[in-house]
């Protein structure tokens, strides 16, 4: 069932991709092939593979329960927010929170999560910023 659904989604993606390729504005200085042919080839392969998934699906994978899907979704949001906040709060502060969240969700106690957040943030800051001189995100406080 998952594979059939995946095949349908794949087919839709292939069609959208081909449609997007068809509206590429070609310049008057084009080579014989142009910018559309290679995308059409890709869309064909993708579409054929997707049709195959619909016709001959594999066994279903073990999908996680709803709670676990929520877990993945939450982690994604936290990481996206982390990316947004990096330049706002600076590397160290945002990393402490992001690491602590992940460590907590991976089974650490809340206190240990915070500890591992602080150590990870300071550890990375020391190694990559202070020793190796890499540029990390700077917040208003300069770190």
């Amino acid at each position: 069932m998952s594979d059939r659904l995946f095949g349908v989604i794949g087919l839709v993606i292939a069609l959208i991709y081909a449609w997007q390729a068809s509206i590429i504005e070609e310049s008057f200085l084009s080579d014989v092939v142009g910018p559309k042919v290679f995308p059409y080839l890709i869309a064909t392969v993708m579409g054929l593979a997707s049709v195959f998934f619909v016709l001959r699906p594999d066994d279903d994978p073990v999908w996680p329960k709803f709670g676990k899907l929520l877990e993945i979704g939450m982690a994604t949001i936290v990481l996206l927010v982390y990316a947004e906040l990096l330049p706002v709060l600076g590397f160290v502060i945002s990393t402490i929170f992001a690491t602590a969240y992940l460590a907590w969700r991976l089974g650490s106690t809340p206190l240990m999560s915070l500890v591992s957040g602080v150590f990870t943030a300071l550890g990375i800051y020391t190694v990559f910023r202070l020793i190796l001189g890499l540029s990390l995100a700077r917040g208003p406080l300069g770190f």
């Binding site: 998952s2 993708m46 982390y82 690491t99 990870t120 990559f128 995100a137």
Partner: protein, 514 residues
């Protein structure tokens, strides 16, 4: 003899203090990454590429660092196989069969030692194979025109799933997806914007480093988030290691095995579609058939540990041959190494040998040095690496995630790229759940540009005549191999897979490396 001359020049490059230090660092980090369950050679190297890049390393030291990590991870993969019966990566799967029984019998130290020696023999001899075979392949590669290159890229994708591939349609879909990512951005030849949806950040295209780190490193974090309850059970008390230096008689007893499997593994590595996991598998099954007179294989026979380890390390060396000489990698990890080269603005392939001989031969010399370092590191210090296994994933995985962010942020300094990376991480997780291999996606993103350029160049030369794509015997040969390589697993795959997994009670699912 000029191969040896070039090689000695290579040693002059590799034997500077700086490069030796990078080799040592790489070997050390690589062994740790290989030993950690959930961090294989491809994710290990993937996380480090953006870092090596942002640190502003010159191409040679950067390559030395990262290939040392690659070799180191191949060595390290055996540690968790032997001690925990959990392969660190797929090639290490076969090592579990005899390694874990040896550990249970209190001979863990011996198993680690003999597998270390076997890894050394395999990798060392394979590096010699690389020295002599790669320049020959370069001569062939010089005959390639754009049409042949297009066929060669197709061949690489067709055979990437490997002989044991489960579902070729999924491999094909994955490759197409990767190629589609590569087409995003400004088209070089006409200046048309493609698939940018008006988003300014996409005009430059999607950086392949973002794809690689997202797919390989971040998706691993999501996998652990999903399974964390199960993975906490793996907390085991340290196994008694026992004697860690191999006795001469043991080495002598295993020598014929090691030499035979090295040859076999090397060939498996060079051929498209085989790679290290098949290398270790055929090495083990051949030895079992040849020398297992008393039926001791599978119950803790040292030869059963030596065979797959020599085989997979030799295959790792062999896989570098097509990667360096043709610019077409045959496995996940070599795909990541290709990314290293591309990030350094070096295009592998025949021209690399003529234009940047210092890079190639410096790298090969570094492999020899790295091997010796790894042997020295691995025999006496294996106790240290076994400690690494005690780091719980709940501490490790957040660190992996954060280092991924640091690397990508260092390359681009853009929040947008970080978000794209997170999205690729989730996508990678979903694709892994659906059993879609990630390696073709990554390889497609890497090679898409070159593949399209070659197609268009071939057709421009022929003035739009598509028959040019099958216009030479060489091209026809490549297409034939591609078709056979794609069809073969559909027919023989299920049988081969059943044999590879026979004898192991737990089926390790979530492995990135092919």
């Amino acid at each position: 003899m000029d191969v040896l001359g070039s090689l000695s020049d290579g040693f002059l490059i590799a034997l500077t203090w700086e490069n030796l230090m990078f080799a040592l660092l790489g070997c050390f980090l690589g062994t740790i990454m290989g030993a950690l369950p959930g961090l294989g050679p491809s994710n290990g190297v993937a996380i480090l590429i953006p870092l090596a890049f942002t640190l502003g390393l010159a191409p040679t030291p950067a390559l030395i660092l990262l290939t040392s990590v690659y070799y180191g991870a191949m060595y390290g993969g055996r540690v968790s196989s032997i001690l925990l019966n959990i392969p660190g990566d797929e090639p290490a799967l076969m090592t579990c069969l005899d390694g874990y029984p040896m550990a249970q019998a209190g001979r863990a130290g011996e198993a680690l030692a003999i597998s270390g020696v076997a890894s050394f023999v395999g990798a060392f001899i394979a590096t010699w194979g690389l020295v002599f075979l790669a320049p020959q392949l370069v001569k062939v590669a010089l005959l390639f025109g754009p049409a042949e290159y297009f066929a060669l890229f197709t061949l690489a994708f067709a055979t990437l799933g490997g002989l044991s591939s489960k579902n070729q349609a999924k491999s094909a879909f994955a490759a197409a997806l990767g190629l589609a990512f590569a087409t995003v951005g400004m088209d070089d030849q006409t200046g048309s914007a493609r698939f940018t949806f008006g988003e300014v950040h996409l005009f430059d295209g999607i950086d392949f480093l973002v794809v690689i780190v997202g797919m390989f490193a971040l998706s691993e974090v999501f996998i652990f988030l999903e399974h964390h309850k199960a993975s906490d059970l793996k907390q085991v008390e340290p196994v008694k290691i026992g004697r860690i230096t191999p006795s001469w008689s043991l080495i002598k007893a295993c020598s014929p095995t090691m030499l035979r499997t090295t040859g076999l593994g090397f060939i498996a590595g060079v051929l498209p579609g085989a790679g290290a996991s098949l290398g270790s598998f055929i090495a083990y099954s051949m030895e079992k058939r040849l020398v297992d007179k008393q039926g001791t294989f599978g119950t803790g026979d040292p030869r059963g540990v030596a065979a797959p380890e020599a085989g997979n390390n030799a295959a790792a060396g062999g896989a570098l041959v097509p990667m360096l000489a043709l610019g077409v990698p045959g496995s996940g990890t070599t795909a990541v190494l290709l990314a290293v080269l591309l990030a350094m603005n070096i295009t592998p392939g025949p021209l690399l040998f003529t234009q940047n001989p210092d890079v190639v031969w410096g790298l090969i010399a570094a492999l020899f040095i790295g091997n010796i370092m790894l042997l020295i590191l691995n025999i006496p210090m294996v106790g240290l690496f076994t400690r690494v296994l005690l780091i719980p994933p709940r501490v490790l995985m957040p660190i992996v995630a954060m280092i991924s962010f640091v690397g990508i942020y260092g390359v681009s300094g853009s929040t947008f790229d970080l978000m794209v990376m997170v999205i690729f991480g989730v996508l990678g997780w979903a694709l892994r759940k659906l059993d879609v291999p990630l390696v073709p996606v990554v390889l497609g993103t890497l090679l898409g540009y070159a593949m399209e350029v070659n197609l268009r160049r071939a057709l421009t030369i022929s003035d739009g005549d598509y028959s040019v794509l099958v216009g030479s015997p060489l091209a026809i040969g490549l297409w034939a191999v591609a078709i056979v390589g794609f069809v073969f697993p559909i027919i023989f795959g299920p049988m081969l897979r059943a044999r590879m997994h026979a004898g192991r009670e737990s089926d390790p699912k979530d492995l990135t490396d092919e």
